[in-house]
Symmetry: C2
Subunit: 425 residues, 2 copies
């Protein structure tokens, strides 16, 4: 059913030629920085031939440039000649590895099908983003040879550059997990941060919805093509995200959301975000894969704890315990994880914190006031000597503290001795 | 009311003389290694004069020996002469600091009262433990100059040497927190570990009760004297602990459980345990003080997470976030924190863990099986070429995987192509 297309049909005049697709390429690039059609189409070809995360494609493209690599592939260059070109460009990829990659790509060299992807994107008003575009989420570049060649985007491409926190978690979320996702997303939106997720049921959906409800920016990275709003039950939610944020994918329109692509999509979520927070996840949740990508990339990783009796939080607890994830309990901490200084919005919380105790410290001799207060009674008046004996302090220290407590109204001198006074209010 | 006693009355023939208390000292030491009455009484005197954690007393005793220090104090030696003796013994304590300490101790130099403490202990069948005794919890020595001079113990002194985990937490515990304390204590008891706590309401009580119910060893360190079973509502529980474990305190019988002594008692709980786990604690819980002592001592510190919506867990989350506490979700992890290798008892749990996924790993090209499975349908038969194009794999790879899946019964070859087969069971 797939055929290896003779070089002629994918050349300058075939269905995949820049000339044939000039109109569509213009449509999917409108308003973006000029990039020549040849380069754009080369990325489209690579993204169609190689599965997301294919490191051989990434290394060859880095060595030869996308345009040259695509031209060589479209000219029907064999593995040996391609390897020679790569070696000449300084790439040390083994010939065998390259041969295997060519074997993977060959079944997909279907010019008409690749061209159809571009036409579909143009038809639904999608945009094609490539590295270097202003809206390109530059964090993706940290994926190196595994970085996507492009992104198909529906909605506002600018949303992809809003500094964001990935809020991810299990599809099978509990009411607790969804509640926390809602609080975190709303708080991040209030702080001007974007919320990045995967559009799935459960935690993802709660995070996206709450960001939208708070007037925030939200981006969903999809595993399949952007023309297939998956899962079906989230079609309306994903349309809302397209209207007020963005939906993005690196696979061509028409692609199915396979399990493999979910795993690879997760690397984009982690790489495109300033930090990743796993809100609720069982031990087998796919969101732990996103967490692993974040950790591999050196991105700050947070996890929200939950009851230890809840299997739905067991994955989060594992991240806290074994993967050095930071314990996150509110949006202020999620923002801080992403490098946002606690600002205006955290002030009320900060002032509460000021009223809360200083970091726990082992108590040491010296807290004479605590000891004098311990030795005072509200009912029985006590002499300075007795207070000294009870508190284990000298009479001089006791008198000093009693004077202070007297001024503060916390102790009172009576003819028969000193008594404690309950603080007013 | 307290009087400075002339040296004569505290000398060889006074109420505090080793001779006068020989019988009582024998009673509180029965069965323990011989230590001369002079040394024992010296520690009793120091523990009565200085509040728990008094570093000056600790440093002087380390420099001069308890017996010599007590003898100097009982002889009415002045601060200047004591300082001279300390300096001669190599102790660099400032004269002013020593003078202040003497001023703190002077109001307590009441020989009759100190002797009464020993008599009370003997009357209730308590034991007096000192460093070097077989049952002395050697971890206390890590407190250095702040270490207790002795311990008054009711129950089985041997319980103090059972390697134990401190389970501590808020008095105002929730049902969740108490439930977790019960599970942890029972699991530790099953592993032969002791449960150390403070005998308080809430988490402490749940931990003690569960250890007892599981036939385990449990020890309660009290802030007041061991003759005052505090809090009153736990008198029966504390009596059960005395029967089947031990209750210990460094302050003389008759002492009140003051706030200061609670804070100092916490250092004993942390130091006497192989690890400290805070089960449930609000931001102001006293158990955070125990946690701080554990951290200062370099003892492993764990915290049990809870719902972020529960203020009763906020202190635990703070420990996880800011104090590098280890996230603890079950007794196996608590035991591991204390250095107990997961053993026989963890096998069932371990075999469950073996069935659970490997540590989360970013997925990379190479998981060809996942990709071939993604490309297979249970309803529509597909050719090898189509599966190759869908999966982004070479036809050779696809055939290899299909052969394997066929053997495993996960894929099946039909005249019109390959289909996926749902795994049985």
């Amino acid at each position: 059913m797939t055929e290896t297309i003779p070089a002629a049909t994918v050349g300058a005049s075939g269905p995949l030629s820049p000339a044939a697709l000039h109109g569509e390429l213009g449509a999917v690039r409108r308003g973006l920085r000029a990039t020549d059609d040849e380069e754009l189409l080369a990325r489209v070809v690579l993204a169609a031939l190689a599965e997301p995360g294919d490191g051989v494609a990434g290394r060859l493209a880095a060595a030869l440039g996308h345009a040259r690599l695509a031209a060589l592939l479209r000219a029907g260059t064999g593995a040996a000649a391609l390897h020679e070109a790569a070696v000449a460009a300084g790439e040390t990829l083994a010939a065998r590895q390259l041969g295997q990659a060519m074997d993977r790509w060959r079944p997909r060299m279907d010019a008409a099908r690749i061209a159809l992807g571009v036409r579909r994107a143009a038809a639904i008003g999608a945009r094609l983003l490539v590295p270097g575009d202003e809206a390109w989420p530059s964090g993706l570049d940290d994926l190196g040879e595994h970085a996507p060649h492009l992104l198909w985007v529906r909605g506002d491409p600018g949303a992809l550059r809003t500094p964001g926190v990935a809020l991810v978690g299990a599809r099978a979320a509990t009411g607790y997990g969804q509640g926390v996702a809602i609080e975190l997303a709303a708080g991040l939106a209030d702080r001007g941060m974007g919320v990045v997720s995967g559009g799935a049921y459960g935690i993802d959906g709660a995070a996206h919805r709450s960001a939208l409800a708070s007037g925030g920016t939200t981006v969903a990275y999809l595993a399949g093509g952007i023309d297939r709003l998956y899962p079906a039950g989230h079609e309306e939610l994903l349309r809302s995200i397209i209207e007020r944020g963005a939906v993005a994918s690196e696979v061509p329109p028409g692609s199915a959301p396979t399990k493999w692509r979910f795993l690879q999509r997760n690397r984009c979520i982690a790489a495109a975000s300033a930090a990743t927070v796993v809100v609720e996840a069982g031990l087998r949740s796919g969101s732990l894969n996103t967490a692993a990508h974040a950790a591999t990339l050196g991105r700050p990783l947070g996890a929200v704890p939950g009851p230890v009796t809840s299997p739905a939080s067991a994955g989060c607890h594992r991240l806290l315990r074994e993967f050095d994830a930071v314990c996150i309990v509110d949006a202020g901490q999620a923002g801080e994880l992403a490098g946002i200084e606690p600002g205006e919005l955290d002030r009320p919380a900060a002032s509460t914190a000021a009223a809360s105790p200083a970091p726990p410290q082992p108590a040491r001799a010296g807290s004479t006031e605590v000891r004098v207060r311990d030795a005072l009674s509200r009912r029985t008046a006590r002499s300075v000597g007795e207070i000294a004996a009870r508190s284990g302090l000298s009479t001089a220290e006791v008198m000093g503290v009693l004077g202070r407590l007297d001024l503060e109204g916390a102790a009172s001198r009576r003819p028969e001795g000193w008594v404690a006074v309950r603080a007013a209010g």
